[in-house]
């Protein structure tokens, strides 16, 4: 007997079933409906948690703000004295340079004894223009930072990534990781013009022109329960050219090749005061069917719009809120790239899933004169990320909050939480996709 026949017989038998109504079933149902709502609704708990976080952030802010004042006062004092000394140096007639140098050096020594290491470096550098032949600074870093109108820096970041997903295919990394492949690398190039302001350190506006070549290596692992883990590392070595800005505008192009995906994006943004606006139409590759070998499918274009608002802060902690809207436009004709000659992919293979990766950015990364940067980035992703329907454009809305915490000139942390979900769009049915991103990043600047 064939499978179909066998199943049809069982189906016809079972379809005739109509169990009798048992009043006890309704009683149980009624009890469920009458079950008292929790005394504290879930939304109130969430609001309370948010408030608690805010209060905690404010307390931390106050603490560090107070802790910052003596240090700032010391720096201001030194800066004023330095300015007087600089005037003396340039005119040479009103103030004796050697006296000025001696006076400044003395002040710097006194003040620097009470300052943390990074502030001490600042003092030394500000002494430099009028230090005289006998006084050689021990570091050039701060001078490059604050006194030079044009300066260059080499930067690099290394981002170990640990990602946990309920799905075997994780859409966030499907462009770069094939679960059937043991190791995937994603070299890409980028050329970027960006202007970054420094609301935390108040060091003034800076413009950064940079070229980066990110490399991403991912090692996917699948557990017996069909859960997947990706362990990887992103390395972004690059060159940056920093100068004082004339306009609050940023424009960049990111283009390159990837294995097995091809990321291509155009970025543009406006940075003004505390408001940060980002726009990045992006064409990305997403993997199709699970298959041996490597394969990518160009399935659509995502256009994310994101805005961040940083709260005013003179301390080392800088909280922000963000919101965004991403449009994803599937391409009608899918382009399939196969790297496995013996097993070419089927052109009609469908897209598995998609989530736009929301990367952590660190707006202060390039504000200081940095020779290299170490970044540790941890992301977790949860939620329903499968798209059962794949027609038409859809929108992904997101909202988040976070804070940057600059411990000192070298060490910085960023914490962020972002929630995103799909919205209906262009008359298509709503897609059930939710995503929560929790992020923590640590930056350590090496001079």
């Amino acid at each position: 007997m064939s499978n179909e026949d066998f199943f049809n017989r069982i189906k016809s038998k079972l379809s005739g079933m109509d169990p009798d109504f048992d009043p006890g079933d309704w009683k149980a149902m009624e009890a469920m409906l009458d079950r008292k709502k929790p005394i504290i609704p879930l939304w109130m708990i969430r609001v309370a948690a948010g408030l608690a976080l805010f209060v905690l952030g404010y307390l931390s802010y106050s603490y560090f703000d107070n802790a910052e004042k003596p240090r700032q006062e010391a720096i201001n004092s030194i800066t004023q004295k330095t300015a007087i000394a600089e005037v003396g140096t340039s005119t040479k007639t009103k103030i004796n340079p050697s006296l000025a140098s001696a006076e400044k050096s003395s002040v710097a020594t006194q003040e620097s004894e009470n300052l943390p290491q990074d502030a001490e470096a600042t003092v030394e550098i500000r002494n430099l223009p009028m230090a005289g032949k006998q006084e050689t600074p021990t570091s050039l870093t701060a001078k490059i930072n604050f006194n030079s109108p044009r300066r260059k820096a080499v930067s690099g970041s290394f981002e170990p990534v640990l990602l946990i997903s309920e799905k075997k295919h994780n859409p966030a990394f499907s462009a770069i990781a094939d679960p059937e492949t043991s190791l995937v690398a994603n070299p890409a190039t980028s050329i970027r013009l960006a202007k970054i302001e420094s609301p935390i350190l108040g060091a003034g506006e800076k413009q950064v022109h940079g070229a980066n070549i990110p490399f991403e290596a991912m090692i996917p692992r699948t557990s017996k329960e069909q859960k997947s883990w990706w362990i990887g590392m992103t390395a972004i070595p690059g060159l940056q050219y920093v100068q004082n800005p004339e306009e609050s505008f940023a424009l960049g192009v990111v283009a390159g090749t990837a294995f097995p995906g091809l990321p291509l994006s155009l970025e543009a943004g406006i940075l003004k005061d505390r408001f940060r606006y980002e726009e990045a139409p992006t064409a990305r590759l997403y993997l199709g069917e699970k298959q041996r070998g490597s394969q990518g499918t160009l399935s659509g274009i995502s256009i994310p719009l994101k805005a961040k608002l940083y709260f005013r802060s003179q301390s080392r902690i800088q909280p922000y809120v963000s919101t965004g809207l991403t449009a994803f436009i599937p391409v009608k004709e899918q382009y399939v790239f196969s790297f496995d000659i013996n097993n070419p992919p089927n052109q009609s293979q469908a897209l598995e899933a998609l989530v736009v990766r929301d990367t952590l950015d660190f707006p202060n990364r390039s504000e200081q004169e940095i020779n290299s940067t170490l970044t540790f980035d941890f992301n977790s992703s949860t939620g329903n990320i499968t798209l059962p329907e794949r027609k038409g454009m859809y929108l992904l809305a997101s909202a988040g909050a976070g804070m940057n915490f600059q411990v000192n000139a070298r060490l910085g942390f960023q914490m962020s939480a972002n929630y995103s979900r799909t919205l209906g769009g262009m008359g298509i049915e709503q897609r059930n996709m939710k995503r929560i991103d929790l992020g923590m990043a640590m930056h350590y600047f090496i001079n």
């Binding site: 079972l14 079933m17 169990p19």
Partner: protein, 183 residues
């Protein structure tokens, strides 16, 4: 009549809720029974489904589809969700049936719906869920894989094992009945 009941449910009218529940009780419980291992479990799934129905009835749009199909979808999804939650827990070892070759075709006709349902309920949850989705609901292996978070191959394999076990169980039931009849 159903439109009035739906309208009543939107207003959280308990009488309308009871009537709607009673109206679809038999059909929906029969679905739950196939996915569950016992009637108690099936009623739990049924009531969880109707809870969702009553709480989300304002989302139902009568112009887009009929209420029975809508409730049926919720019931099926609830049953699948339950399976997915249960499947994360460690299951008991799946002991194979030590039955002889089947008389499947004869046995199906010879057993009552209740007896066949019992055999389906006795299947391991993974096999039972795939069997229901494929043989009864008509999903493809690809769709089943997506819904249950398993591969297409696993779905096919589970279905084959489900059939094998059912055939063996049907065979032994048939044999028992035949012997009782001879006596």
């Amino acid at each position: 009549m159903l439109t009035d009941l739906v309208e009543g449910c939107r207003k959280e009218d308990r009488n309308a809720q009871r009537k709607l529940y009673e109206h679809f009780h038999g059909k929906m419980l029969s679905i739950c029974l196939r996915y569950a291992a016992s009637r108690e479990e099936a009623v739990e799934v049924l009531n969880s489904s109707f809870f969702k129905v009553f709480k989300n009835i304002h989302r139902f749009d009568g112009k887009k589809g009929n209420v029975e199909a809508w409730i049926r979808t919720i019931v099926t999804n609830t049953a699948i969700d339950r399976y997915r939650k249960e499947s994360k827990r460690p299951n008991t070892i799946d002991l194979d049936y030590a039955y002889k070759e089947s008389h499947g075709s004869i046995a199906v006709e010879d057993l009552t719906a209740q007896e066949i349902l019992k055999l389906v309920q006795d299947l391991p949850p993974a096999y039972r869920t795939v069997f229901n989705l494929f043989a009864i609901e008509g999903y493809s292996h690809k769709e089943i894989g997506e819904r249950l978070g398993i591969s297409e191959g696993t779905s096919k394999s589970n279905l084959a094992k489900a059939r094998k076990k059912l055939q063996k169980a049907l065979s032994i039931n048939y044999e028992i009945k035949r012997r009782q009849h001879v006596k």
